[in-house]
Symmetry: none
Subunit: 214 residues, 4 copies
Amino acid sequence: MENKRITDLFAESLDQNCDLSEKQKAILRSSLELFAEQGFTKTNTSQIAQKAGVAEGTVYRRFKTKDEILAAILAPLTGQVVNALVEDFTQHRFDVEYVTLRDFLRAVVENRMHFVNENYKVIKVFISQALFQQQLVQTLMGEFQKALQENLFLTLKNLKQRELLVDWPDPRIFQFMAGTVVTFLLRVLFMGPQDVEAEIEMTLDFLEKGLSPE
Amino acid sequence: MENKRITDLFAESLDQNCDLSEKQKAILRSSLELFAEQGFTKTNTSQIAQKAGVAEGTVYRRFKTKDEILAAILAPLTGQVVNALVEDFTQHRFDVEYVTLRDFLRAVVENRMHFVNENYKVIKVFISQALFQQQLVQTLMGEFQKALQENLFLTLKNLKQRELLVDWPDPRIFQFMAGTVVTFLLRVLFMGPQDVEAEIEMTLDFLEKGLSPE
Amino acid sequence: MENKRITDLFAESLDQNCDLSEKQKAILRSSLELFAEQGFTKTNTSQIAQKAGVAEGTVYRRFKTKDEILAAILAPLTGQVVNALVEDFTQHRFDVEYVTLRDFLRAVVENRMHFVNENYKVIKVFISQALFQQQLVQTLMGEFQKALQENLFLTLKNLKQRELLVDWPDPRIFQFMAGTVVTFLLRVLFMGPQDVEAEIEMTLDFLEKGLSPE
Amino acid sequence: MENKRITDLFAESLDQNCDLSEKQKAILRSSLELFAEQGFTKTNTSQIAQKAGVAEGTVYRRFKTKDEILAAILAPLTGQVVNALVEDFTQHRFDVEYVTLRDFLRAVVENRMHFVNENYKVIKVFISQALFQQQLVQTLMGEFQKALQENLFLTLKNLKQRELLVDWPDPRIFQFMAGTVVTFLLRVLFMGPQDVEAEIEMTLDFLEKGLSPE
DNA sequence: GATGAATGAGATTTCATTCAT
DNA sequence: AATGAATGAAATCTCATTCAT
């Protein structure tokens, strides 16, 4: 299954949103791009207006402040990002029973790496905001936690029962898996997209070794 | 084992810098607090002056621009830190020969976790800036890479020769070790300092398992 | 005595104006409310539209500018009111011959107090505008002066002839009568509608005393 | 005794205020003039800056908003205006015992008329604000009420005891006196300064007649 | 006629930086 | 060295008015 880009999902969700006029959608699209490119604070409303091809006043007609633009972008995205991650696990859980630990790890990690590769610009916006906005962190954490409980952790239990996975606490196992993805994310964030294929096998070697039952 | 060498990087670097008057140090301390709390752009120079207990003009006596304050804060990270990291490994490498892989991992990882815990504010500011400023990363990466080559990688070679470590490429091994620290860092960044002792043994279990020779 | 002739000036003038659609009347009503509450400049057209339950564009269908709304609100004051005042005196002069000075004063003053009570919002808007716009005053003063000459002053003459009124110049007498009403007006403007009945007798005591012939 | 202009009193109080820099004083002086000339809402900060001979940013250094400028002007003035009125009565009460009612009325009314004549521009600013700001009304009313109790009403009592004044409630008597001044004020507000000498005797005739004991 | 999104001119406000004291 | 008022360029924001539907 192919991951959709968050930006594409965002564009789609904008298209379906009859609440917003075409110009207002253009404003949000342009804002997201500029925020991802330069960061929120370095982007000013005249840039947004220009990129969206509207007058500066138009920006403020629908969105009372610049912060409200950001909120209008992030609010639907938090849902979408978490959902994108969740849906995926859900599908795997019900459709496939992983034959080996490596199969499982591959499915999860490879998928995340692609996701990171394709969405790092949006992720940047999230991280830059989350660094100074606990509330955003709370929201993300909350949704994420719930998603993990209902998806990944169920699969982990199954793998442990089948003695394909070391018997450590779920959060711990998740943390180690996440560690490899996060390292990958950092490289992507700071150096641009990386070659997943070149990374994945070695990463799986490590995780498989570290997470196999004794 | 001497793990205390890397402690509060920023405070130390201030103390050692005899160049700076007390007021100038106060300015940097206040700036770091504010930058870490609100971000660089949302912090204005009058806030800095007020928190430091100096006049706004005084800020500009030593630091020609607001960016220069930022640079002065991040300087230890790009300068001394890499040196501190290097020194550390250097000492361990020459003074002690690690008896077990776990000893080695513990020395490196525990140390880094403490470092993260004690310097997360500088790191936070650095990351928030680096997200939209590749140049910052370049400098750090360059020095870091060099330091790794000349220090950690030599130790890895030694461990491999003694068959205490899996025979994978050095950068790969480093990456997995880094992964665990980075995950720890994320938690610290978004949720404040964490309990190293509570984490370290489980992390070592995982790394030891994943990095032992076949 | 028929004192009810001058009642709610603005409402009446709206009702009589068949030129205006229901929506247009709603616009004027809402505007008056808002102007009286917040002032003209602090009221924006979107508030008016919202309060009137119409679209912002609709406001501009009938009224070419925001100032034109104001003019439409103040129109009755400069047009009909003066007429109403005139008519009033006219009737009294020809229909009734006041038996006592007090009767005359009561008719005039009580009537004006009710008028003030019921139309203080329009008056408030008028005054707030007139304070920094002499032109507004000119128009009203002109018409008022003429109306006085042709009505009140004739009655005064009659009363003087019958030795019911002190023999002072008409404008002077008018000014003293007006003074009591203006004081009443001030209280209404700043503290909302007042109780006419509670005031009138004492006011008449004073005026009667001050304006009786020697 | 000569009334001092409020603007002069204001200028003096500014001079004594070491809190404010010269430019900041200039800003307040210019603001008051412009507000008196054009009204608050029609005055923009660039006009203020220009008239004060400062940069627009300077306006906002001390005063966070335009409203704060207005507040900075009105706050000290409310005190001064009321004090100007109060002090006056105080002096008369202790120094002079009025020989006749007319003497008393003359002292009070003539004084007020001159005050109105000289300060109508500032009064305009007060009224225009008070119309839409109950709080300002409250403050003024409160201080005024207190001042009346402690000054005018004492003199009224004395006059009544000496049977020089009709035995009506104090507020009522004040209201009638005020009525004549307010009427005068209205003419001044809307038509500019009036000739006090030409008015005063006739006004006194009326008041004396209306307020003499039976 | 009615709508409400769009406009753009202009107002308010911010703030890094300078500079006279 | 230290101060803090002053600056002005640029940002955010407001709103009367227009206009396509």
